[in-house]
Amino acid sequence: MVHPVSDPRAPAHPLTEAQAGLWYAQRLDPANPLFNTGQSIEFTGPLDRDAFAAALAQAVTEADALALRLVDDPAGPYQVVDPASRPMLEVIDLSGEVDPPAAAQAAISRDMATPVDPTRDRLAAERLFVLGPQHHIWQQRIHHLAIDGYGMILLTQRVAELYTARLRARTPGAPAPGIAAAFVEDATYRASDRRAKDGAYWRARFADRPEAASLTAGVPASAHAFHRHVVEIDAEAFARLRARAERTSIPWPDIVTALSAAYVQRHTQTPEVIVGVPFMARLGSAAARVPAMLMNVLALRVTVPSGVPLDDFLDAVAGSLVRARRHGRYRSEQLRRDLRLVGGNRRLHGPLINLLPFDETPRFEGLTSRLDVLSTGPVEDITFAFRLHGADGLRLEVDANPALYDIAAVEAHARRLAHFIAAASAAARLDDVPTATPAEAERHLVNLNATDHPVPDTTLAALIGEGLVATPDAPALRFGGTTLDYAGLEARSRALAEQLVAAGIGADERVVVALPRSFELVVALIAVLRAGAAYLPLDLAQPDARLSRILASATPRFVLARAQDAHRFTGKAEVLAPEDWRTVPVGEPLPVPRPEDAAYVIYTSGSTGEPKGVVIEHRAIVNRLLWMRAHYGFGPRDRILQKTPATFDVSVWEFFLPFLAGACLVIAPPEAHRDPQELARILREETITTAHFVPSMLAAFLAEPSAQGLVLARVFCSGEELPADLRDRFHRTLKAELHNLYGPTEAAVDVSFWPAGPEDRSTPVPIGFPVWNTRLYVLDEAGRPQPPDVPGHLFLGGVQLARGYLGRPDLTRERFRPDPFRPGERVYATGDLALWRADGAVVFLGRSDHQIKIRGLRVELGEIEAAVMASGRVRQAGIVAREDRGTKRIVAYLVPAPGLEPGMDLAALKADLASRLPDYMVPAAFVGLDALPVTANGKLDRAALPAPDFAGTGSRAPDTPTERQLAALFAAQLAIDGPIAAEDDFFALGGDSLHAVALLLQVRERWGRDPGLGALFAQSTVEGFARLIEAEGDVDAGLGPLVTLAQGDPGRPPLFVIHPAGGLSWCYGRLARALTPRRTVYGLQAPALAAGVATPESLEALARDYVARIRRLQPRGPCHLLGWSVGGILAQAMAVRLREDAAEVGVVALLDSYPCDVWRGEPDPGEDGAVKALLAIAGHDPDRLPALALNRAAVRAFLRATDSPLGRLPEAALDGVVRVVAGNNALVRGHFHRRYDGVLTHFRAALDHQGRDLSPELWAPYAAQIDVIDVPSLHAHLTGPEATARVAPVLARALAQADSREKVACATAV
């Protein structure tokens, strides 16, 4: 087939397989200049310019690849060799410049940053910069479609050969074969059996592949530039590697590849890694000498076993490389298609490891040459290139995608890998090779942990005792509106302490405290400490069985509890109820505990099924409290809220810090810690300065309207990860410092701190830096210190470590181990995964074991499993915390005991568990199985466990529109697939407070009403909550003329978005929620959606109606307007109208709208068109549904069947949409624009309107200025996720600018 080209006789060649992948990648990202490869060679010496020009001209004439021109044809791309496209040498004289080398570098950088269109531009450029008589730079830039790295070397060497031959007047060698050789090779291989066999090899090799991981967690997207850092491999190390190569008969480049893969594995910490190995694909090819694009990337699976000799590992990798190369012609792009790994973030391999074991420096007669490789093609992730230079130098060049790595990270990897290879060169086993460089290890283990700080060697009892007498008249406690002063607290706690001492209590003995929040609770805790004993808080809400186990292990001498709860302790310990406490001290001296005596014992969930009692000594908690007092500057003016249950160790600082600072402790009423409204009231009325929240509760609290605008000195978070968006929401809602603390019960509450202030942009929010006298280690599986940014196991050391677990030396030994870096000291293995950032802050990443957190409370899945097994109903159980589509829940997988059915009585089992476990530990779902799936090595195969069916237990299908929509919201929020019944309960289905907050937000968006969190807790079934929603007003099913799409800061003027053709503005929901800072967004919807409302007489009349509506909400302006398609036309008309009313207009944004003039000439699409539009609104391409009859009934049935949200609309409403589409078509055709004397911000769908003359400039007659933003999207996708990600930030910026203009204008007016 011959296509019309400039030389009509030039034959057309299809793209080779090697070119095809690059072609499509470049077409997808036409502005990316990295598809150009390039190098520059600096010549020092007398360059014969004429000889050079002649040599280059000849080499270029021989190299057909440089003359390729690409043609994009509907039948597929093809290429021709077009002599007119050959590059000509461009000579650029910079010798007159002030700094010629700098001028040349700038010109080269500019050129390399310019994208090339392979269908229009020349693929290659050859430029010679003259810097001086003895100084030249030759730059080559060739598109990757035409050449690969080795082809570039061949071309360069050919130029050198021709130049040298000319100077010596000798005959040069024969030229390489023409590019036809490469085309023939490609065609032959494509049709060969060998390709089929190669493909089968790769598919089999990768059938059970692990997920490809890399050095960062980010998703690679093609960037337009890359970072580079170059280091030299130590010469002695390289010599050792070559000696090893000699000894093992493994080529040294394969050794370096294997070691680099092992380095990658140290970072992914997966058993196996997949790296990419560039392969030149030239050995045995007739095209071996042709400058062309032939190279391939081989995906190499590398397993890194521990404990084996290094040579064995190298041998295994070398073997894999030989096998991979044997099948190396098979394109990796094709393998990706075979494995369905195309698109998105699906990758075949992680980092690239590129070995170039030959000296690439060309030899030009009489010249010294220095080669600089500028670009070797797009850098998806990170590339480690090892280039030989001179006879025995090895250089490591690290190129990385700036979207995934900053330059500091690239430098760190270059240094670290060079060190890793050097260390490995002398090692017998990889296990002996550290990952971190000595400098990184020193910084990590020593510098970042240099926390030594003098702390008095005293006890909590002594410190409290001193505090209580320092300011006798100051308020010490507030509860329920009454106050107890320091003198009163001193007297009551001393009296009770005396009573306990008189009863014979002594050091290290336990006294249970099981009281609700009250004065008595605080008096009891202090009294136990002052009596020299350790307090043991217990929650009476837990089942008797668990309480008994704890009491049996803790053997307390006394219990301080209310008389009505005394029966829970019958026969286990003596109960002292507050009525029996002494209140007046007799003045006997109190014992003086030692710093190493126990201060308290707190029980946490244990993996064996037994709760574990953590024993904290005075010295440990004194360090923690004195650090906190000094670090945050607590003083007598502070009012600290006590709302954390005493069984949760966060309560320890709440209870005692006030008395070390002369501050006042305000005790929240029992149960108030779960009630956001009540908390907001206390914070405000009691002028609290300091409060603690578990992050999930903080999220619920921030959603509470009465919490808005509260002012505190500081809020502390701990117990769970603090999400970055919650931090940001916090600062938008409250005025207070926010601090993120971290620590397990085993290390005296908290061991690290991070100020999460409004300026903090960290994602995730770190747990920060160690407190006084504390060390944080992040170690790998083998106990080696990790370099920065690499996950590892978090270990804690220092003065705050617990003594251990009460009565469990076995468990204590398991968790508290010798400090590997400080002989004689201990570390605690937290079981948490963490990393330390380059700035030294530690980031929490999750758990390494089966412990999870529910509402900040630690849960060991083993304890649940033990309880399930103890029920006797189950033969085998697997308890997992599953995260299904973002929702984390405990699920029990059960194999019933013999004789019981798989569908055993789950209700009975659940009741049984509720009697053994606290409520937060009872699984949310139970799944009966015939057998638990296991992996090859016999472990529970978590991946093979079916997702639980969270469908509820009710039977009545949701009936009313509100119920149906609410059930759909429940399902979406909780990620439930099955049907939801009207009686189903949101919380029983697995919802928690976070889900509830999100649900309420959606309810507010859908119905414009907010019944509140409390209402949802009270009425948590579909039918109940639907009734509440309906009770708040008429249900409009979201079809009313004004809907609230997002609720934001009331201080910011709202954005009004105007519906497109269909009359509905739900399509803007995503955009509305994506605006930061959040702003209220109202959607205007066509009134004619309602049956019986006539289509307006003109678009102008409709705009007038909308202006009236928005001015009722925003009488003063400024009014921000946005519309898509027809909505944009309406927005412009509304802006004109608002100006006439002298109202302030803010941003007027058009999402790919064009003036009516464009549409006037086109025929009205009629009802067919309207029905098509309806399908388009639902996200279907009507032209791809040819079998569907285009009438309302058929389309309605189709929408219902495809589960479109539109299908859930009542029939009348669907008819309304069709009617509105038809009406809008007519309105647009009859509308004549007036000029708006302001700016239109136009978001153009840049990928659309092929072959149509639609341009934003068409608006020029109707606006004073048009700002155009190109969005790489189709018109129909402009409110989709990708386009929204582009539109939202630009729009948010424009809105913010308009708002500040408005403020300035007001200020000037005043």
């Binding site: 080529p251 050995l283 045995g284 007739a286 000498r289 490389l321 044997r326 030009f364």
Partner: protein
């Protein structure tokens, strides 16, 4: 005339001639085979030679100062093909072509 940097290696490294038998032995060692197992026109790729090992061989043979181009070797991966290349280069340098 001054010595050009590119010439230095050629001057200081004595050119030890490469023989066909040395080539055969070097290839055999790479493949863990006996030299006799390698026929003159056997495809070295079929015998298991990969590009990195081939490149290593070419680098080793060029250590005596011969200017060898891997791409030429890649075109004809047989012992005879490679010997022809080496022989021609050595002849051009005036080395004894044994």
């Amino acid at each position: 005339m001054a010595i050009e940097p590119a010439d230095i290696r050629r001057i200081i490294v004595p050119a030890a001639p490469i023989t066909r038998e040395r080539m055969r032995a070097d290839i055999a060692r790479m493949l863990h085979e006996d030299p006799e197992a390698i026929g003159g026109d056997d495809s070295l790729m079929d015998l298991g030679l990969d590009s990195m090992r081939a490149m290593n061989l070419v680098l080793a043979w060029s250590e005596g100062g011969l200017e060898l181009e891997f791409a030429e070797f890649a075109e004809t991966p047989t012992l005879d093909g490679w010997w022809a290349l080496i022989h021609a280069k050595q002849a051009a340098r005036g080395a004894p072509g044994v």
